[in-house]
């Protein structure tokens, strides 16, 4: 309702990606649902750390009460966040950590995300064999954090080898071409780990009638649906909720209301939903949501952190809209 008293600034640097769009919608929905926010001020475009600094400084100029930011880089926007804190603005980083000590962080644990999925995958492979490792965008910090987790799991399974490592750039078409090229080489593999570009991989395997090896992906609506519907597919979806954005808004509002959390950093631990066990299948079934755009993560809410309804996040309307 318009009775809210705060203005919240939001800064995001990737546009046109389903996950990020859901994050922004979660922020809007949560701001609306909380009833405490009068206005959202959103800077949402494709840019780099320097561009995000610009956005943050513009938000400071706009005199917002809090800034929720998905950082382009943990260290690169330190100066801007410091200025914001100095100006009396509450700063909350979501999705990834930041190095600015005064900022609060509520984040998906990217390293754990990769570790969890990879460990499950290597287990499914029987602890040996060749894995096709499909990373995100070269040079992105989320990608290098996930790489750490993947390598950690790999170290625990000495008999698992990386058959091929590619960067999908988090692009569906590129990933599909890469997997098809790879399949054409006839190199046998025993599992595929993806950094969230998952449903096109399943499609590619099905289309080219290649053996369905175990696949790990993210909890995107498309992939989660495939895990239940594609016959013979064994796989797992690791949650990476875009709704973390809503949690960020909640955290910011709590701080504005004087309820500071115990620590600066709150980590949202990923979950793994696999379709190899009945228990896992049930979770998947519960989570599946064919009505969502296939690029949207199905975990559209985070218990304890978000209070909006599905309709609200899907409507994607903030206060005053």
């Amino acid at each position: 309702s318009a009775a809210g008293k705060y203005t919240i600034g939001i800064s995001n640097t990737v546009q046109g990606n389903g996950w990020r769009e859901e994050m922004v919608c979660a922020m809007k929905a949560q701001a609306l649902a909380s009833g405490e926010v009068a206005k959202l001020n959103i800077a949402h475009r494709n840019t780099d750390a320097a561009g995000q600094l610009e956005d943050i400084r513009n938000l400071i100029s706009a005199k917002v009460d809090a800034i929720v930011v998905n950082p382009a880089d943990p260290a690169g926007i330190k100066a801007g966040l410091e200025e914001a804190t100095k100006a009396g603005i509450v700063v909350v980083a979501v999705d990834q950590a930041v190095t600015e000590p005064s900022a609060y962080i509520i984040s998906n644990n990217q390293e754990q995300y990769a570790y969890l999925g990879a460990k499950w995958l290597f287990g499914q492979m029987g602890g040996k064999g060749e894995v096709f490792y499909m990373r995100g965008a070269a040079g992105a910090s989320a990608d290098s954090d996930r790489d750490k987790g993947f390598k950690k799991a790999l170290a625990e399974f000495p008999d698992v080898k990386v058959a091929q490592e590619v960067f999908t750039g988090w692009q569906q078409d590129q990933a599909k071409q890469q997997i098809l090229s790879f399949l054409s080489t006839g190199t046998p593999i025993n599992g595929i780990w993806t950094s969230g570009i998952d449903n096109v991989i399943v499609d590619a395997l099905v289309e080219s009638q290649a053996p369905l090896v175990p696949i790990v992906g993210a909890d995107n609506a498309g992939f989660v649906g495939q895990l239940s519907s594609v016959k013979g597919l064994v796989g797992a979806a690791v949650t990476n909720p875009g709704s973390i954005g809503g949690a960020g808004v909640t955290l910011a509002l709590q701080i504005l209301d004087g309820k500071k959390p115990a620590q600066q950093t709150v980590l949202v631990e990923p979950q793994l939903w696999e379709n190899a066990t009945d228990e896992g299948k049930a979770k998947l079934k519960a989570a599946a949501d064919p009505s969502l755009s296939p690029e949207w993560p199905v975990s559209i809410s985070i218990p304890d952190w978000t209070t909006y309804t599905k309709d609200q996040i899907v409507a994607c309307k903030g206060p005053g809209e």
């Binding site: 389903g18 769009e21 070269a138 750039g169 090229s181 054409s184 449903n199 096109v200 969502l292 409507a315």
Partner: protein, 328 residues
């Protein structure tokens, strides 16, 4: 000390081969393509099989059509950076409208932004004389914004890939990609248009010397408007084909194809300054780029080194091609 100018000696073999290739610029391009394929086969014996060829063709086709848009606009000295956005828009709209619309209606809705953006581009470039790069960049920004606004209204209804498009995009008949059913006539039409129709002639002439065409009675804005509309419609069709291939609508679906489409046209011998080039070369250019991507994907090396290699090969191929085709 006076040197004889032209001696009636038989022309050396090397020179003859060169002249032969210079007259048929497609041959050196095809040779370059074959060389890449051979390298691929040497690196991964057995990779060049029926399935690989089908895959390569499937991915080369959308690129080739978009590069066709680029070829035609480049002939007039322009460039169309909005094709990525247009293709994405029509793909996204198709996938979301098909859920509760008649296929024909969905198709019409999907092609609407394409026609509209093409028209705006054409009027901006042809009537107001805005530089094509800026004009198409601007409309592509506007289009992206509109798509995002639109996207919010359809999140709830979800998306579906029409079976026909999936069949066209990914299906094989007797091992031959169905997409060729669309592409072969389309390519033939483009080649025919460029070489044997008045409109095609005008594209070359306008790109070469606009004042001269004006004095010959050509109305620039008509040619340019028609061109950008055609380019946009082709891009829209590509979007539909592409969504059938990728099967995942996203808001940046076809954007990654824009720079490669320019590269494919240039590798294929079309001049970025207008007036020179053709579509057959562009098709080979698209194939070369697609094979090159495969080649680099299967190479085991750091991503940085891969990109360096990609850049160097593109440069080398274009330079070698120019060397061979140039007469002096």
């Amino acid at each position: 000390m006076s040197t004889t100018a032209i001696s009636p000696q038989p022309v050396p073999f090397g020179r003859r081969v060169k002249r032969f290739m210079a007259d048929r610029p497609l041959i050196p391009l095809i040779i370059l393509l074959v060389i890449l394929v051979v390298i691929l086969q040497v690196l991964r014996p057995g990779i060049v099989n029926e399935r690989w060829i089908a895959n390569t063709i499937k991915f080369a086709i959308p690129l080739a059509i978009l590069a066709g848009c680029q070829t035609m606009t480049m002939l007039t000295g322009g460039i169309d950076l909005s094709i990525g956005t247009v293709a994405t828009m029509s793909a996204f709209i198709m996938a979301t409208q098909i859920v509760n619309q008649d296929p024909a209606v969905a198709f019409a809705l999907a092609m609407m932004p394409a026609v509209l953006i093409g028209l705006v581009n054409g009027i901006g470039v042809g009537v107001f004389r805005v530089h094509p790069l800026i004009m198409t960049l601007g409309t592509s920004l506007i289009g992206t914004g509109c798509l995002q606004v639109y996207q919010r209204t359809v999140i709830a209804s979800g998306a579906r890939i029409p079976d026909f498009l999936a069949w066209l995009g990914t299906g094989l008949t007797y091992g031959i990609p169905n997409a060729l059913l669309l592409f072969v006539p389309l390519a033939a039409l483009i080649v025919f248009t460029l070489s044997r129709t008045g409109f095609g002639r005008l594209l070359y002439a306008v790109g070469d010397n606009e004042r001269a065409t004006r004095l010959s009675g050509v109305q620039y804005w008509q040619v340019i408007t028609a061109l950008y509309v055609i380019s946009s419609v082709l891009a829209g069709i590509t979007g539909l084909l592409y969504i059938g291939l990728i099967k995942a609508p996203s808001l940046s679906l076809a954007e990654p194809l824009v720079l490669p489409s320019v590269a494919a046209a240039v590798i294929g011998g079309t001049s970025i300054f207008g007036g020179r080039g053709g579509y057959t070369g562009t098709i080979i250019g698209a194939l070369i780029l697609t094979v090159l991507t495969t080649l680099l994907t299967i190479l085991q090396m750091p991503e940085g080194a891969r990109r360096i290699l990609f850049g160097l090969i593109v440069l080398f191929v274009t330079a070698a091609y120019l060397r061979i085709v140039e007469e002096r």
